[in-house]
């Protein structure tokens, strides 16, 4: 059996890749994909700990997060399409309407 540190490291790596993607990428679709990476990092973490502690609740949480991620992706893509129709752009630095 692999030690839990490997899982945590993979999770950490995924999280860092996702975070860097969210911060640096301009295309909102890529940002959305990066968020999925972060969510998956969390999933790996939850499953790893679930196995480690022999408690199945973590896996159930993971399943919920997968469902949530699907819903979030659908809503996110819908927002992006609506936004594109109005502003003809999907670039994050041109989306500055949250100001004031």
């Amino acid at each position: 059996m692999m030690p839990i540190g490997h899982y945590l490291f993979l999770s950490l790596a995924l999280f860092v890749i996702g975070a860097i993607g969210v911060i640096t990428r301009r295309n909102v679709i890529i940002v959305l994909m990066s968020i999925e990476l972060i969510l998956n990092a969390v999933n790996i973490n939850l499953v790893a700990f679930s196995r480690y502690f022999g408690d199945v609740a973590g896996q159930v949480f993971a399943l919920f997060i997968i469902a949530d991620a699907a819903a979030e992706a659908a809503v996110g893509l819908g927002i992006i399409i609506a936004f594109f129709r109005n502003r003809e752009t999907v670039l994050a630095d041109e989306m500055d309407l949250l100001k004031w």
């Binding site: 030690p3 839990i4 540190g5 945590l8 975070a19 969210v22 911060i23 640096t24 940002v31 480690y52 994050a92 630095d93 989306m95 500055d96 309407l97 949250l98 100001k99 004031w100």
Partner: protein, 713 residues
């Protein structure tokens, strides 16, 4: 004894019928079929006629000892108020009431009967015209106003009817409202009448201020003592020697009222509107400008006869104006070539006769001529309308001729009317005109100067005969001068038009017979009937006096007038029928005189130069004043000032008030600068902030995580 009975107690219905129907036309007329319009408008006048006949019949059948007068007060119209008068402070009031006495009997019968026939005639005449319901609505409104005028029991209500008929006259003259000449003629009629009405109004106020009442009489009321009338007040004033015969105030009242009468009845100097009024449809000319409305002035003077009788100066003015108008209009009629214009001038001339009668004190004779004139003059106009109808609108008598056999149903009544107006023995005009001439002559027996009036009347009779027979010959006799293209279309008018002609022709003959006993030296029954209305008041200092002449003199007077009529006929025959070229030759040999007459003595031009253009000059000056002074200095100046002040206050607002507000707003803006910098609106930045926050959290609580991780294997 059943008094007052249905018809008298429902006197108010007589004017109400046409008013109701006029109102209906106003609201629904546009949506009604022609048949429905006929039913309403002609039916309402017929109902009025029936009620008028019933009321008059009731009055006629009263026992001899009961006065033939009935008065009905519907409601108090002008509520009582104190008014200073010649006799001190008086409680002045005026009611809306109707008075039926012999004088108004004659008038309502003439108005409703002739009015009804003309309504029937209009069905045929207006059949192909636009605005059918509008025409009949106006006609009905006119009937209401005219009946209000003749039935009014006080001068103020009479004035309401007076103005009402003036309005309807204006509306109907301008009936073809898209035609400029018609619209102008309507305006001219209205404005010229206003001049007379100003006099009427002043006279009315002077009556109120002198007598403290405008009610004609208190006779015929259930309780006469409780009401005062002009007649009763006048009688008591005379008997108490407050005013005497010929007092200036009576002359003033009489002359002011006569100014109104001269306007409405087209007398010199205000006659100029009537010839132009021929722009209206022909039934209108017949009803309003021949038979009824223009006689309102005559009626009004007769109604106020009590005052005229004690104002000898005013009487002379009335007589002179009447006689002058009669002969003046007759000379203008002899050269006119428009069939309706000839008749218009003949109407003016006949109205002049009526005023001549009133002016010499023969009020009943004036009213008698009014009645016969209503029949034959209406007939002449309707006949002319029928001729025009047959010739598709032709009005120029030079383009007529020989119509005698083409349209017999029109020509026979027209010939009868011509004989009646010229005064051919046996027909109505003969009786009424001779009555007037006889009274003028009679008056001369007492006062010499009246001989001239009689002579003028006699010459006018000759002129009347000349221009009427000229019209008759030009239209119905001789060679046809109808243009070839119109000749084929000549057609007799429909029955609705010719039947009223025949009925009017019948009355043009027989209506004069009411004075038939004059022929054997008795008093005219018509005058005896009217006498109670025209009696006036007793005066001990003076009165109108008539001479007496014997029956042979009466016959001699008649013979003289018949001789003049025959002379006129003979001249017309020579000039227009026997040798039609003669009259053009005659006109050519006196070009200046002919031109002078053709231009109607240049009266319109003189009025234009003296009054119309001067008023235009005045308005031009006023326009200049308005544009330069009122608009320029007043309005524009005020605008300029407002602009200057608004500039100033704008500057103040911008640089002081707003500056203060902006300064206040600037503080929070400045202070919030560091905080605002975080809100970029770009979510990546927020993500960075979140990560920084995470890093800080890890920095603070990181060792706990480290501890936890280290416990894992």
């Amino acid at each position: 004894m059943n008094f007052p009975g249905y018809f008298l107690s429902h006197l108010w219905l007589i004017p109400l019928f046409p008013l109701a129907s006029a109102t209906a036309m106003f609201f629904f007329g546009r949506r009604l079929q022609k048949d429905a319009v006929n039913l309403f408008c002609v039916g309402s006048v017929f109902l009025s006629f029936l009620h008028a006949t019933g009321a008059v019949f009731k009055l006629l059948t009263l026992p001899a000892n009961q006065p033939r007068v009935y008065q009905q007060i519907l409601f108090q119209w002008v509520t009582p108020g104190a008014m200073p008068t010649s006799t001190g402070l008086v409680n002045f009031a005026a009611d809306w009431g109707y008075l039926l006495d012999p004088l108004s009997c004659v008038m309502i019968i003439v108005v409703t009967f002739v009015g009804f026939l003309i309504h029937v005639y209009s069905i045929g005449y207006m059949a192909h015209e636009g605005g059918y319901y509008r025409f009949f609505g106006y006609l009905n409104l006119f009937m209401f106003s005219m009946l209000t005028l003749v039935l009014a029991n006080n001068l103020l209500l009479l004035f309401v009817g007076w103005e009402g008929v003036g309005l309807c006259s204006y509306l109907l003259i301008g009936f073809y409202l898209l035609k400029k000449s018609a619209a102008d003629a309507g305006r001219k009629a209205f404005i010229v009448n206003r001049i007379g009405d100003a006099g009427f109004l002043l006279g009315l106020l002077l009556v109120a201020a002198t007598f403290g009442t405008v009610r004609f009489t208190s006779q015929g009321l259930a309780d006469p003592a409780a009401f005062s009338g002009i007649l009763q007040t006048l009688a008591s004033m005379i008997s108490q020697h407050q005013f005497a015969y010929g007092a200036p105030v009576f002359t003033a009242i009489a002359l002011l009222l006569f100014a109104g009468a001269a306007g409405k009845s087209a007398q010199i100097p205000l006659y100029v509107w009537l010839p132009d009024a021929m722009e209206g449809p022909t039934p209108v000319s017949a009803l309003i400008h021949a038979a009824t409305m223009v006689t309102a002035g005559v009626y009004m003077v007769a109604r106020m006869s009590a005052i005229y009788q004690i104002a000898p100066v005013a009487m002379d003015v009335v007589a002179i104006i009447g006689a002058t108008t009669a002969i003046f209009a007759a000379t203008m009629a002899i050269v006119q070539t428009d069939i309706k214009k000839v008749l218009a001038y003949s109407t003016i001339s006949q109205l002049g006769y009526m005023f001549l009668a009133l002016g010499v004190g023969a009020f009943a004779a004036g009213i008698f001529h009014l009645m016969t004139h209503a029949f034959f003059q209406a007939l002449l106009f309707l006949g002319a309308g029928s001729v025009m109808h047959s010739l598709s609108g032709q009005q120029d008598i030079r383009k007529m001729g020989g119509l005698r056999y083409a349209i017999p149903a029109t020509s026979v009544p027209f010939i009868i009317a011509t004989l009646a107006i010229t005064g051919v023995p046996g027909l109505s005009g003969f009786f009424s005109k001779n009555e007037i001439l006889g009274h003028a002559f009679n008056r001369h027996l007492m006062v010499d100067r009246y001989l001239a009036l009689w002579a003028v009347g006699l010459v006018t009779a000759g002129l009347t005969s000349f221009y009427m027979f000229r019209l008759l010959f030009e239209t119905f006799y001789g060679m046809s001068r109808v243009p070839v293209e119109a000749e084929g279309h000549i057609h007799e008018s429909p029955k609705t038009m010719t039947v009223p002609l025949m009925i009017l022709a019948f009355f043009s003959i027989v209506s004069g017979w009411l004075a038939l006993p004059v022929l054997w030296g008795e008093e005219s029954p018509f005058e005896r009937f009217l006498e109670p209305s025209l009696r006036g008041v007793e005066t001990d200092t003076g009165a109108i006096t008539f001479g007496h002449y014997t029956l042979p003199v009466e016959y001699a007077l008649m013979a003289a007038s018949v001789a003049f009529v025959a002379l006129g006929f003979w001249l017309a025959y020579k000039l227009y029928l026997e040798n039609p070229k003669l009259h053009t030759k005659l006109a050519a040999s006196w070009p200046r005189l002919h031109n002078f007459l053709m231009h109607k003595y240049y009266v319109d031009e003189i009025y234009d130069a003296l009054f119309v253009n001067r008023i235009k000059d005045l308005s031009t000056a006023l326009v200049f004043f308005d544009a330069r002074v009122i608009d320029g200095i007043g309005v524009d100046g005020a605008g300029w000032l407002a602009r200057v002040f608004s500039r100033l206050s704008m500057w103040w607002d911008k640089w002081v008030v707003d500056a203060l507000v902006n300064t206040l707003g600037w503080f929070p803006k400045f202070l919030s600068m560091p905080v605002r910098m975080f809100q970029t609106g770009v979510f990546s930045t927020y993500a960075v902030f979140i990560l920084i926050g995470l890093a800080i959290l890890l920095g603070v609580y990181g060792h706990h995580v480290q501890m936890f991780v280290l416990t894992l294997h």
